[in-house]
Each structure stands twice: as structure tokens, then as C-alpha cells.
């Protein structure tokens, strides 16, 4: 297998890295959108995350890698076959490449078996492969509209329903949606934007030392991937351990009433639509607290994650998206520093 650039070796881009780690700790935060400048390592970070994620338990032989700990959520195949044997599996980080056809995304009739053996069988698609993992779409704003519609639907229901070619199949498809793109090449459909829990702005670092560091590390990796991987192995292991620790801690992380009130006030001040913003803000703050080893969520956690959790939920002045970050930080300042 080709080495991937180590997550720990990514210089700068703290907000993006933080959002991805939060999604790794608590997938219910609901996806990460990384929008911004070209050449800032957005896809590098997602691929690095794939290598970083600790393995999961999955039912052996299941095409949707069902969770043995949750028999209620198992797929029809597992139920029918009464499968329960668990095995260790990699968390899937599935690429949805540009030019992917609908049959490969949702799954379709297995051509090979149909042609050669005359059998009617379902061949799962990318949504099945991404179940319990991550689905990554680079250039998400260039995705064909009919695929976007489909994703919006599945991301909301957690289930993929296939009715085509005489097949009628449903299977679990719960995944963390990760998208990246450059806003200069087109806006994202508001409905899809809404599906992302966290949205981060990726800017080219202006600080020259960071820029040099990034170029140097990238160059080093291109020339000696194995050497770089070895050099960062300890750091990667440490980070992986902290994800595992955060996952086991998160259930016990306390959310005090005054922090809940802070979050509510902030959302109220910003006029975010619906409760989803508040919920995401709290979940993300809790995951952040768990990651930093805290037992309770502090206001600082809320403040730190507020821009990512809220900037894409502000009542839209479509011409003002450049300053939504400023609006969030201003509201934070007004509310909490007085």
C-alpha cells in the first residue's frame, strides 16, 4: 500500500484538523465541510485521517460491516444469516470520485454474476462501503445535482433504499460526510450545506515560517514516504490513542447548565435557524472537551468550536459569506468577554 502523508505532520490548518478529529470522536456531529483556497492540503488531511483512525469491530462477512454491538441496527443479510461473529476492520474512508456513476454510488445489479451465471444479485455501491465510516467528496461543489439529491436523502435517513433493475434492497448507510472544494468554482447547494455539522474555512497560511515548513515536509514526503511515515509513527500512535481515549471518555463528559445556556445565547444572538446549530455546537464542544482530556465542557470549548459549528448556519446574506466567521467571533466577544 502507498504511504499516506501523516496527519500529525500537517502544519497549520488547526481548524480543519480539529474538525476532523471531532468527527472521528463523535460521528453524530454530522460531517465536515472544508472550503477554501487551492493547494492547502484539504484532501491530504482527509486521506491522512483514514490512516489515523483506530480499527473498529465489524460482523465478519458482512458487506455493510455491521456493528456486532448493535444487533438492532444490523442489515437484513446479517439478520437472515444470523451472523454475529465479530472481526476487526479498518474504518472505511471512501472516496466518491468525480465522474462516479449513480449505479456505483447506490449499488446496482451485479453485472458479472448476471451475465455469467444468470443470477440476480445486488452489488453494493459506495454508500454501502462507507457505512460506519467516512464518505469523502473532493470538489463537492462540482458534484452532479442528481447525486447531490441522493446524498442529501441518504445522509438524512441513514439508510440506502435501492429500487432498480428488479432489485429491492435496503441497507444501513450511516457515514460522516466530508466535503472539500473551492468556493470560487461554484457555490454549494444550500440543502447540502445544511447536511454538514461543521464547516471550516481553509486559508493558505500567511506566516512564512509555516509556509516553508509545509513545503519542506511535503517535499520530504514525496521523496521518501516510508522515511517520513516512520519519523511520525510515534506522533500518529499518540494521536490515535487520544481518539480512542476521547471516545471512551465522551459518555461521561458533563455538560453544565451554564455552558448550555452560553450555547443557547450564542445561537439566539446569531439567529441560527432551528435547533440543529445548538445541538451540533454542544456535541462538538463535548467531543472537543473529551479530546483535550477534560471531564466537563467549559465555555472555552464552546467558544473554540463555535465558528466551525455555526458559520454556515447564519441566516443567509448570500453576498456576505466572507464575513460570517467575523459575525460569529463578534457575537462570541460581545456575549462572553463583557
Amino acid at each position: 500500500m502507498r504511504e499516506t502523508f501523516p496527519f500529525s505532520a500537517i502544519a497549520g490548518q488547526e481548524e480543519m484538523k480539529r474538525a476532523l478529529l471531532i468527527a472521528a470522536v463523535d460521528p453524530s456531529v454530522g460531517g465536515v465541510l472544508a472550503f477554501g483556497d487551492r493547494g492547502t492540503g484539504k484532501s491530504t488531511a482527509v486521506r491522512a485521517l483514514a490512516a489515523l483512525l483506530p480499527p473498529m469491530q465489524a460482523i465478519a462477512g458482512c458487506r455493510y460491516h455491521c456493528d456486532p454491538a448493535q444487533p438492532d441496527a444490523a442489515c437484513d443479510e446479517c439478520r437472515a444469516a444470523g451472523r454475529s461473529e465479530a472481526t476487526s476492520a479498518r474504518v472505511p474512508v471512501v472516496d466518491l470520485p468525480l465522474g462516479a456513476t449513480e449505479d456505483r454510488v447506490v449499488g446496482a445489479l451485479d453485472l458479472e454474476r448476471a451475465l455469467v451465471r444468470g443470477e440476480k444479485a445486488f452489488e453494493p455501491g459506495l454508500l454501502a462501503r462507507a457505512n460506519r465510516g467516512f464518505l469523502y467528496i473532493d470538489e463537492v461543489n462540482l458534484l452532479e445535482d442528481h447525486l447531490v439529491d441522493l446524498l442529501i436523502d441518504v445522509a438524512a435517513s441513514g439508510e440506502n433504499v435501492v429500487e432498480r433493475e428488479g432489485l429491492s434492497v435496503r441497507h444501513p448507510a450511516r457515514f460522516v460526510l466530508v466535503g472539500s472544494g473551492n468556493p470560487e468554482e461554484g457555490e454549494l447547494r444550500p440543502q447540502l450545506l445544511d447536511r454538514f455539522g461543521l464547516s471550516v474555512e481553509v486559508r493558505t497560511p500567511e506566516d512564512i515560517a509555516t509556509r516553508i515548513l509545509i513545503v519542506r515536509r511535503r517535499d520530504q514526503f514525496d521523496r521518501d514516504p516510508a522515511g517520513v511515515a516512520a519519523e511520525w509513527r510515534a506522533a500518529e500512535d499518540g494521536l490515535r490513542d487520544s481518539i480512542v481515549a476521547a471516545r471512551s471518555r465522551i459518555g461521561g463528559v458533563e455538560v453544565p447548565d451554564d455552558v448550555l445556556e452560553d450555547a443557547a445565547k450564542l445561537c439566539l444572538r446569531l439567529g441560527t435557524d432551528g435547533l440543529r446549530g445548538e445541538l451540533t455546537l454542544m456535541r462538538a464542544a463535548r467531543a472537543l472537551a473529551a479530546l483535550s482530556g477534560a471531564d466537563r465542557v467549559e465555555r472555552a470549548h464552546v467558544v473554540q468550536i463555535a465558528p466551525s459549528a455555526l458559520r454556515h448556519r447564519l441566516r443567509r446574506d448570500p453576498l456576505d459569506d466572507a464575513v460570517s466567521t467575523t459575525r460569529v467571533s463578534r457575537a462570541v466577544e460581545e456575549l462572553f468577554t463583557a
Binding site: 456505483r104 455469467v116 445535482d145 468554482e185 512564512i208
Partner: protein, 551 residues
């Protein structure tokens, strides 16, 4: 040898080159040189503009599959060109999706295929050579693709001469190292020239390494770095460096770290920077010094995205239907639909028994994409009066376009010219920025403005879009088509220009921004066959409503 030699040494690392300018002997020579320099047997594939995803990325090999060999995949052109070069002519007209797929291959060095029931990965370590014949600012190579090519050059201009043995250099390349201070120098130079993308210094680094290998050295020296600065960084410059090199800000609290430029690095920066500066195109310098925008530095929106299927809308999945009558048969889906019933059907000696009910056609989304062209009068009379108000009206209209997911374009006219300030784009934040930065003053070349609007509308319609023209003016034309002053001639020209809009049948709307409704403006609106709305009575939100209702 020219920069083509560097590309021949490290094609996949450098990503390729965009060659600007019209077709001609200089371009042919450059290409011939590259072909001659590449080792024998390296693939060299020309990609036609209208290539479909099935050939670009690959897909099901229908022939083999239908012959009963089971499911066979066919690689696309990008994978077939692995280790070599792909060539794209008229790259400024490349559809956004094709460009994104090529950019993806350049980035990943492989093709991930998730198509037609097939999942596979194929290596695609390629370089792309793009011919950019774009003339107007609304025609340019998609920036995401441009960002992934090391070189941008005009083959008609003199280029540095390189010497060396490409084959030997290719063998030597993996062993070439770069001193830390040169890495820093290239990063510093990129920053000084206002280049944001970090791919630029990385490409410069690889170009320097290729240059060293070509010279038979295993260590990059200052000349290699200077050459890289000149070839890779200079064409990307968006700003002139501050005249005196900035002294590093004193940071007494901070211990010096290994990442900070070391003392003495300044001289190295200077060498690279000077080389890059020397290679800056002279008109860029003039434009930057004048504070103008360089409209070609790859920061603009796509011109009204040319989609694969031309005017008939984008494919949007498949549905059962009759392939006759102009619909396109979705063969693979048809076969899939027929397969489950093969055992039940009479075959009459055919491998596959297909019934009319199996037929599937490609569903298309009718092209509904419309583009609103704003023609804004930025002349002196307007500037004195109500440019600000007109800008406010346009902003409201922009918000409305966002809701409808329309594209917008902005043309400003004043003095003796009409300028395309913003090519058609959906990035409305940029539209707003361009609008805010719009200067006012000078005469009113209304005819030139209308002509420019008409030309743009025409090109949008030819690409399958639906244009609408919104003119904001006080109607007092005083500069004619020839750029000469004189009110009667100017008004005559303006009316003539307006009539061609009517003749072509474009939706049009004229917002009269004069203090009192002016007969001149009303005449122009009538000549365009569009509605006339005086601003004093309209108010910005009312105009927005008018545009929505179809003007």
C-alpha cells in the same frame, strides 16, 4: 532546450504546462521539442474537448462484455497515458467536469473508477500540456487545473536555454537534494510575489531539482533556483514585492527555531526574487503598478460552464423510455434491466433477449441555467448622481440570483470603453466585491456597453444558457461606438445597439437612474424591447421583483 526539457525530466512531478497564445509555428516547435525529449515509447495522448467520462476515466468495455467474456473494464485516456503526457487544445473551453477530472488525476497520480458497475484504480502519473487560446477575459483555463501545472508560458517569447541529457537526468533525479536555504528562498519569493497557493513553491522546488539533474549535479544550486523562480513563480505573480526586502520583525521573546530563515538567507532570496522579477511580463508590471487587476492570474470564475452534452441539458440519471426521437439509449442500463429475465425469454439465437420494456434512456435536466448580465453605467454623470444607488439595486438583484442559482456577469462602461468586470459566475461574493470596487467617472459610451452586453449574451446562448440583460443607466449617451464624443451620434449608436438586443430576443430591463425619468433612457428601453423602470419610483426591491417575474 527550453522548459520542455525540465518537463521531460519530471513530467508527473511538474504536472505540465499551459501554453498561451494562438496556434503557430512557435507552439508546434515547443511541442515537437517536448516529444523529441521524452524517452522513446512514452505515451503522448491528445484529448478532444468534448471527451466523455467513459473515455476520459474509463468504464465498462461493452464490446468484450457483450461477447460474453464477463464484465471487462476499459481504462480511460488518463490511465492509458500513465507515465506520459496528455495534450489538450482549446483548453480555455474545457468543461468544468473534464477539467476537474484531469486535475484530480494530476493530484492523485491515479484514477479511481467508480463507474458502470466497476471499481478499480489505475496509475495515471501524467503531465498535461494545455493550449490556451483564450482571447477575452471570460475565456480561461479553470483555475483548479491551472494551479496543478508547473509552467505557464508563451512559446513565442524568448526562454532560457538549457543543456543536458534528459535520460541521464531522469536517472539522477531521485538523488538530487536541495539545500534548506534554497527551499526557503523559493517560499519567500513566492510570498513576495503574492502567490497564495503552496503548490507554486513546491513546483519551483521540483523544477530546480530537474534543472540540477539536467546539469548532472546532485545538489541544487542558486542558478537552478533562480531558473525555477523565473519559470514557475514569475508567471504566477499577483503583486510586486515591497521595494526594500522587509527586515524580519524583531521578536526578542522568541527563541530562534529551525523554521525561521537563517541569517544569510536574504542573499539567496534576492537571487531568486531578482530572477523571477526579471521574467515578469512587462504589462503585468504596468498593470500591477497602476493598481489594476490582472484578470488572467487564474482567479476567475468559469465562463458559463460548457457541459458535456451541449445544449440538451446535463445527464441526470436514466429512466425507462423510447430511445427513438432524439433520446439517447442508456445501453448499460438497458442490459441491466433485461438481464433478470433472460431465463424466461425466447432468445431466437440472440445472446441477449431485450424487450421494449427494458429500454432505458438517459434522462436530461433541461437546461434552465440563466445568466443575468448587469450592464452598469459608471460614467461621470452617473457617478455624480446615483452610482451608489445603482450599486445597491444590483446587490439586491444579486441576492435574488443567488436564490435562483443563476449566474451573474457584470459589465461596466465609462469613458471610451466597456469592460467585462466579472465573467459569468455563480460566486456571488465575487460579484459583490467587483461591484464595490467599481470606479466611476468619464463619458457615457452607452452603445459600447450595449454592444458588449449583446456579445456576452450571444456567447451565453451559444453555450446553451439563457441570458437576461439588466441595464443601469441614466441614458445620457455621449460617446459613440467609435469612442468619439458627440451626443447625437452617440444616441443614434446606442439605439442601434439596443435594437440588436431586441432582434435577438433577449430579455432586457432598463433601470433609469437619472434624477428625473429621462426620455432618452425610455427610448433605449423601447429599442431593446425591454421594460423601463425609473429608479426613483422603483426602489431596489421592486426591481428585484421585476427581474424575477421575467422582466
Amino acid at each position: 532546450m527550453s522548459a520542455a526539457a525540465l518537463l521531460a525530466v519530471d513530467p508527473a512531478g511538474l504536472g505540465g504546462a499551459v501554453l498561451r497564445g494562438p496556434p503557430g509555428p512557435a507552439r508546434d516547435r515547443w511541442l515537437d521539442e517536448l516529444r523529441a525529449l521524452l524517452p522513446h515509447g512514452v505515451p503522448f495522448r491528445r484529448i478532444p474537448l468534448g471527451i466523455g467520462d467513459d473515455r476520459l476515466l474509463g468504464g465498462l468495455d461493452l464490446g468484450a462484455t457483450l461477447l460474453g467474456h464477463g464484465v471487462r473494464a476499459q481504462r480511460g485516456v488518463l490511465a492509458e497515458a500513465d507515465g506520459g503526457v496528455v495534450l489538450l487544445a482549446s483548453a480555455e473551453r474545457l468543461p468544468a467536469h473534464t477539467a476537474a477530472s484531469i486535475a484530480g488525476a494530476l493530484e492523485a497520480g491515479e484514477i479511481r473508477m467508480e463507474r458502470d458497475g466497476i471499481t478499480r484504480r489505475d496509475p495515471a502519473r501524467i503531465a498535461a500540456i494545455l493550449f490556451d487560446e483564450g482571447i477575452g477575459p471570460d475565456e480561461s483555463v479553470p483555475p483548479s487545473l491551472l494551479d496543478r501545472l508547473a509552467f505557464r508560458l508563451d512559446p513565442r517569447e524568448p526562454a532560457p536555454e538549457l543543456e543536458g541529457d534528459v535520460l541521464a537526468a531522469r536517472a539522477l533525479l531521485p538523488r538530487v537534494s536541495v539545500p534548506a536555504e534554497l527551499v526557503e528562498a523559493l517560499c519567500q519569493t513566492a510570498a513576495a510575489l503574492g502567490i497564495d497557493s503552496l503548490r507554486a513553491p513546491l513546483f519551483a522546488l521540483r523544477a530546480a531539482r530537474a534543472a540540477a539533474a539536467l546539469a548532472g549535479r546532485t545538489m541544487v544550486d542558486a542558478d537552478d533556483a533562480a531558473l525555477a523562480g523565473r519559470l514557475v513563480l514569475a508567471p504566477r505573480a499577483t503583486a510586486l514585492p515591497a521595494p526594500p526586502p522587509e527586515p524580519p520583525p524583531p521578536e526578542p521573546d522568541q527563541a530562534p527555531s529551525e523554521d525561521e530563515p537563517e541569517p544569510g538567507a536574504g542573499t539567496m532570496d534576492d537571487i531568486v526574487l531578482q530572477a523571477a522579477l526579471a521574467a515578469l511580463p512587462p504589462d503585468l508590471l504596468a498593470r500591477l503598478a497602476g493598481g489594476g487587476r490582472d484578470t488572467r492570474t487564474g482567479n476567475q470564475g468559469r465562463s458559463g460552464v460548457l457541459r458535456r452534452q451541449g445544449t440538451r441539458g446535463r445527464p441526470a440519471g436514466v429512466r425507462p423510455g423510447d430511445p427513438r426521437g432524439g433520446n439517447r439509449l442508456a445501453l448499460l442500463d438497458t442490459i441491466r434491466a433485461a438481464l433478470p429475465f433472460q431465463r424466461l425469454r425466447e432468445h431466437h439465437g440472440l445472446a441477449l433477449a431485450i424487450r421494449p420494456g427494458d429500454l432505458r434512456i438517459v434522462r436530461r435536466q433541461p437546461r434552465t441555467e440563466s445568466t443575468t448580465i448587469f450592464l452598469v453605467d459608471a460614467s461621470g454623470s452617473q457617478a455624480l448622481g446615483r452610482l451608489a444607488e445603482a450599486k445597491g439595486a444590483v446587490q439586491l438583484l444579486l441576492a435574488d440570483c443567488y436564490v435562483r442559482r443563476d449566474q451573474v456577469a457584470l459589465i461596466a462602461f465609462r469613458g471610451r470603453t466597456a469592460e467585462l468586470v466579472l465573467p459569468p459566475t455563480r460566486a456571488l461574493a465575487r460579484a459583490k466585491r467587483s461591484l464595490a470596487g467599481l470606479p466611476g467617472g468619464g463619458g457615457t459610451p452607452l452603445a459600447l456597453g450595449l454592444d458588449a452586453g449583446f456579445a456576452l449574451a450571444d456567447s451565453i446562448r451559444r453555450r446553451g444558457g439563457t441570458p437576461a440583460i439588466v441595464v443601469l443607466t441614466d441614458g445620457s449617451a455621449n460617446v459613440g461606438r467609435d469612442g468619439q464624443g458627440g451626443r447625437p451620434a452617440a444616441e443614434r449608436d446606442a439605439e442601434a445597439a439596443a435594437r440588436q438586443i431586441r432582434a435577438a430576443g433577449y430579455r432586457a430591463l432598463l433601470v433609469d437612474s437619472s434624477m428625473r425619468p429621462a426620455p432618452a433612457a425610455r427610448r433605449i428601453a423601447e429599442a431593446m424591447g425591454g421594460r423601463y423602470v425609473p429608479l426613483p419610483f422603483a426602489g431596489a426591491s421592486a426591481i428585484s421583483g421585476l427581474v424575477r417575474s421575467g422582466a
